[in-house]
Symmetry: C2
Subunit: 144 residues, 2 copies
DNA sequence: ATCATAATATTGATATATCAAATAATGACT
DNA sequence: AGTCATTATTTGATATATCAATATTATGAT
């Protein structure tokens, strides 16, 4: 194959890998835990790990747009996974707390997420993963 | 790092790479060619390469849902990039032809796409790309 | 030829991505 | 204190992802 075709099919493989992984992950989570999306879980997890983050900082951490975060948080509040109240010193902001339900859900889901990652990477050596990591990091750097 | 953290950050890098690449690609295309999305270009290119494909087959080729293809084609027709007429033998289907505008656009955009891929993969050796390809293909296989 | 089933495409509902514009509050400067 | 730029978030518009339901046509078995 020429370089151009190799490059083209690389991005094809990249799209395909992320899509099949996301589909598998969403399917297993939905089956076991019902109506929650991977993205919503990501946001919850980020807020649990670093409770002091602003919405904007959450957006950066999970690679999402501010607008998307607003809407995801909205849904999480409506679903009873987040409690939203005014921020004590900055009235543009909000104080967001995970509800007990959210804490429980995250704890239950966690092993499934680990398992999914393991399934996806099964049969790949550590060295191959290291090289792939390097490639992916370089792509972000090149495109950023 | 433990295996679990390594795995987690691998998927983080994967998400980040595809997002930054897509953003870069969309930005450069929009700047140079205006209101067309990467996904719309993908569909047009697939139809140009294999004009006899059904919409469902297009969906498979570009990794999209049937519903998404319906809507993307709808947009492309409205934008004047596709001409849609009844299929001669199967009345469930349609015959879709690229307009001259679409042909011209694809031809103009092509070098930019090649360039974007080259930019994204700059500084990565062929061997690293080969290994990354292998990893990505294995992930799809594992999740499929 | 009929009828059940399969295939093709569309539509509806909800979630997310993206950009631009709008709100609202804060902080800095005079 | 009052003006102004900046910051934090929201909203609107459009595109895409996904799943379920629907409509229409084609096909195969009888």
């Amino acid at each position: 194959m020429g370089v151009e075709k190799l490059n083209a099919s690389f991005f094809y493989l990249l799209e395909r890998a992320i899509k099949t992984y996301r589909q598998m992950a969403q399917r297993t989570i939905s089956e076991e835990y019902g109506a929650i999306t991977i993205d919503q879980l990501l946001v919850l997890q980020a807020m649990k790990d670093q409770p002091e983050l602003t919405q904007q900082q959450i957006a950066v951490v999970v690679f999402k747009d501010y607008a998307s975060i607003t809407r995801i948080i909205d849904l999480l509040v409506r679903k009873g996974f987040l409690h939203r109240s005014g921020h004590p010193t900055d009235r543009r902001r909000f104080e967001l707390r995970l509800t007990q339900e959210a804490e429980d859900l995250l704890q239950q889901v966690h092993p499934r997420i680990l398992k999914n990652r393991k399934i996806a990477l099964d049969g790949i050596t550590e060295e191959e993963i290291l090289i792939a990591r390097k490639v992916l990091a370089k792509i972000s750097e090149n495109c950023g």
